[in-house]
């Protein structure tokens, strides 16, 4: 047994699935109808799901990234929900599920003054609370299903999968057909949410896919920090995550969206995240990608409004058997828009980490600025790191900068720290944590600590 398996016990735990409702595996219009019925979808949503299924069936699997042929959709149970209904109070959540979350540190996180917790267990939200003061500001924070019929039902209908249409790619179409769970946040114009909102979800049942949908609308001049954290237990059957995140940042608003994803090592993480940023608004992404077998993740920002601004700070850690293809995409439409990408990728024990980005500055985006800064660190000589930064600049009135660094962990730096009494594995972890520091600095304290723990866990198997 290696140390790594021992130490992952805090993350790789599973609960008894008994009593849970489970659909037949595989996908057909009947199943999609069944999901829709079970969820009491409005009619438009049922039609949307069926239309998405058609798109899914005629869209080929992407062939430009890491291989995903280990993924057999027929084996993926698309919908597993816990035997519990929505809960408002932590104490009311069934003990078994509560234990799982406690191991993941959620109640602690809440105690540390997080505003609300929307924790998704398998496909349904089982726990959801928004602090009174946030609700009093008119902020709506609810599960996606409730949002379909809630106060902002029309707004949801106008925006749902408009940024990420099902036609976008095969897994967006799949998401459109079978999405389940996720969060809806609406911040009214001018409202500044002082404390971060947090959602935490993870996969549990064997072979189950997860297709949560996150829809956030930050009104004019409003301000929000939303944190999403994911962890999943380890299974032997291929697992799929095809979530979707749509973020609307209105005129003069600011949204910070932070995630630390820690998927189990058999997960295919094919997630789609996109933000639409209006005039003078600011979008900030902080993204940590850990775990998973294969990841495709390129959060996209559309800088539509003049003088809108986006920043993307990301880190990816690919260990043994992992192929993580991550990056960011910036599309400049408005004048004097600016974007800034700063990423760190780490690969060790034969892992493959690919940084892939695209910056497009359209002809109308005069006076825009873009800067891309990507650094890769390889922990040994048999791991791999690739950098694929694309630039498409269609106006001469743009200021574009790009810097890429790729390197191996310095043996001499390791020796330097060791000569001060620090054991080798700790010395290496300190150097890697330092490399990741630009990202941890952007995270709330408990998340930065969790990320450093993850880095340590990932490295201890060396």
């Amino acid at each position: 047994m290696n140390i790594f398996d021992e130490d992952r016990r805090f993350y790789d735990f599973t609960d008894d699935e008994s009593g849970f409702y489970r659909l037949e595996e595989g996908l057909s219009p009947e199943i999609v109808r069944q999901i829709s019925e079970e969820k009491h979808d409005p009619e438009w949503m049922r039609d949307f799901r069926l239309k998405s299924l058609e798109v899914y069936n005629r869209t080929p699997v992407p062939d430009w990234g890491p291989p995903i042929d280990g993924l057999n959709m027929e084996e993926i149970a698309s919908y597993v929900r816990p035997n519990t209904s929505m809960q408002g109070r932590w104490e009311d959540v069934p003990e078994e599920i509560r234990n799982t979350f406690e191991k993941l540190g959620i109640p602690q996180a809440e105690r540390e003054s997080l505003a609300g917790v929307g924790a998704q267990y398998d496909s349904e939200l089982v726990y959801h609370s928004v602090r009174d003061e946030v609700a009093a500001q008119g902020v709506v924070y609810t599960d996606m299903e409730s949002a379909l019929t809630g106060e902002y039902a029309d707004l949801v209908r106008e925006t749902f999968m408009k940024l990420v249409p099902p036609e976008d790619h095969k897994f967006a179409a799949l998401h459109g057909a079978v999405w389940s769970g996720g969060s809806f946040v609406y911040v009214p114009p001018g409202v500044k949410v002082e404390i971060p909102l947090q959602s935490y979800f993870r996969l549990n049942a064997r072979g189950a896919g997860q297709f949560e949908h996150t829809l956030i609308i930050v009104g004019e001049g409003a301000d929000l920090h939303f944190i999403e954290g994911c962890s999943a237990p380890k299974y032997n059957v291929a697992n799929l995550h095809a979530g979707c995140v749509e973020l609307y940042v209105k005129k003069g608003a600011r949204l910070r969206y932070s995630t630390i994803e820690n998927w189990s090592k058999n997960m295919y993480n094919l997630n789609t995240k996109r933000a639409l940023v209006e005039e003078g608004a600011v979008m900030e992404w902080v993204s940590g990608s850990f775990g998973s077998h294969t990841s495709y993740l390129y959060p996209t920002t559309v800088l539509k409004g003049d003088r809108s601004h986006a920043e993307f700070t990301g880190i990816t850690f690919a260990g043994a058997g992992q192929n993580l293809d991550t990056g960011a995409k910036m599309i400049h439409l408005g004048r004097e828009t600016s974007s800034f990408i700063d990423t760190k990728s780490i690969s060790g024990r034969g892992g493959i980490s690919t940084y892939r980005s695209s910056v497009q500055i359209m002809a109308g985006a005069k006076g825009s600025k873009a800067s891309v800064n990507c650094a890769s660190l390889m922990l040994d000589s048999y791991s791999r790191s690739d950098t694929i930064p694309a630039m498409d600049i269609r106006t001469s009135e743009a200021d574009v900068g790009h810097e890429a660094k790729i390197g191996r962990i310095s043996d001499e730096a390791v020796f330097y720290l060791m000569s001060r009494g620090i054991p080798e594995n700790e010395a290496r972890a300190m150097i890697v944590s330092g490399f990741a520091d630009t990202v941890s600095k952007e995270l709330p304290l408990e998340y930065a600590a969790e990320m450093n723990n993850l880095i340590r866990l990932e490295m201890e198997n060396g």
């Binding site: 043996d411 001499e412 330097y416 000569s419 620090i422 300190m430 330092g434 520091d437």
Partner: protein, 251 residues
């Protein structure tokens, strides 16, 4: 004999390209200050790195004893815990790791005890003042953007906080202006006084030696120690350079 703090016995060291040190022997007693001089490329730094346990060099013969114990196969962190220290000629930069958290981790590692935060802070502030280092440097990333002089001062800062029994100073004085040499020397004297710390000072100049009481001087040429004697040899080297020793290295 175990009354010697550190003993190198017939130490031969190789890298892939060939042998760099040939049967080097050297003994340093508790609290003694030894100087290792020699022309560039003689193997002085290789010797220092090997004593500290750099995996870059392979010991192909002989052994290293510290307080009578054979440490030839110990990793560098274990040597540090036993009380050894190496001040690097080119201290490494570690982005994202602050000087203070590095120092705290080191003190914890070397002592094997949790660091008492208040006492640590106080000692850090006093030592920074002694070495005329801007207190803001505690929050700076380790050696990142430090000038040559600042890096060397930071090494002496580590020396003082880690309290080793034996420290190797590899070209600590090189590239320093007169004021910086004075500050660094004061730090080293403090180490000698406070710890009764033993020193192996590797240098090819003699400026740093002006303020240190030297017990013994060794001259290394082409991977061999060709002369060991009292402090007076330093004056001869000042006057005539290493010429007088070069031929003895050719044997």
């Amino acid at each position: 004999m175990s009354d010697k703090l550190m003993k190198a016995e017939g130490l031969s060291v190789s890298i892939e390209e060939g042998e760099l040190l040939h049967e080097v022997s050297l003994e340093i007693g508790k609290g003694e200050t030894h100087v290792l001089m020699g022309p560039n490329g003689a193997g002085k730094s290789t010797f220092g790195y090997t004593l500290m346990g750099s995996p870059q060099y392979t010991v192909t013969g002989g052994r290293i004893l510290f307080e009578g114990e054979d440490i030839t196969r110990l990793s560098a962190d274990k040597r540090a815990k036993k009380g050894m220290f190496l001040s690097f000629q080119n201290p490494l930069e570690v982005p994202g790791l602050t000087l203070e958290s590095f120092l705290r981790a080191s003190v914890r590692a070397v002592t094997g005890k949790p660091v008492k935060l208040f006492a640590f802070r106080k000692e850090l502030e006093e030592t920074l003042a002694l070495l005329k280092i801007d207190p803001a440097y505690a929050e700076r990333e380790l050696n990142v953007g430090f000038s040559g002089g600042e890096k060397k001062k930071a090494e002496i800062l580590q020396l003082l906080l880690l309290r080793p029994k034996f420290a190797i100073l590899d070209e600590t004085d090189s590239g320093l202006d007169v004021d910086a040499v004075r500050v660094v020397s004061a730090g080293i004297e403090e180490y000698q006084r406070r710890q009764e710390g033993a020193l192996l000072v590797i240098t090819h100049s003699t400026r740093i030696l002006e303020s240190l009481k030297v017990d013994r001087t060794h001259v290394m040429v082409k991977g061999r120690i060709v002369y060991s004697g009292g402090a007076s040899v330093v004056e001869g080297i000042n006057r005539d350079g290493f010429e007088q020793f070069i031929s003895s290295g050719e044997e």
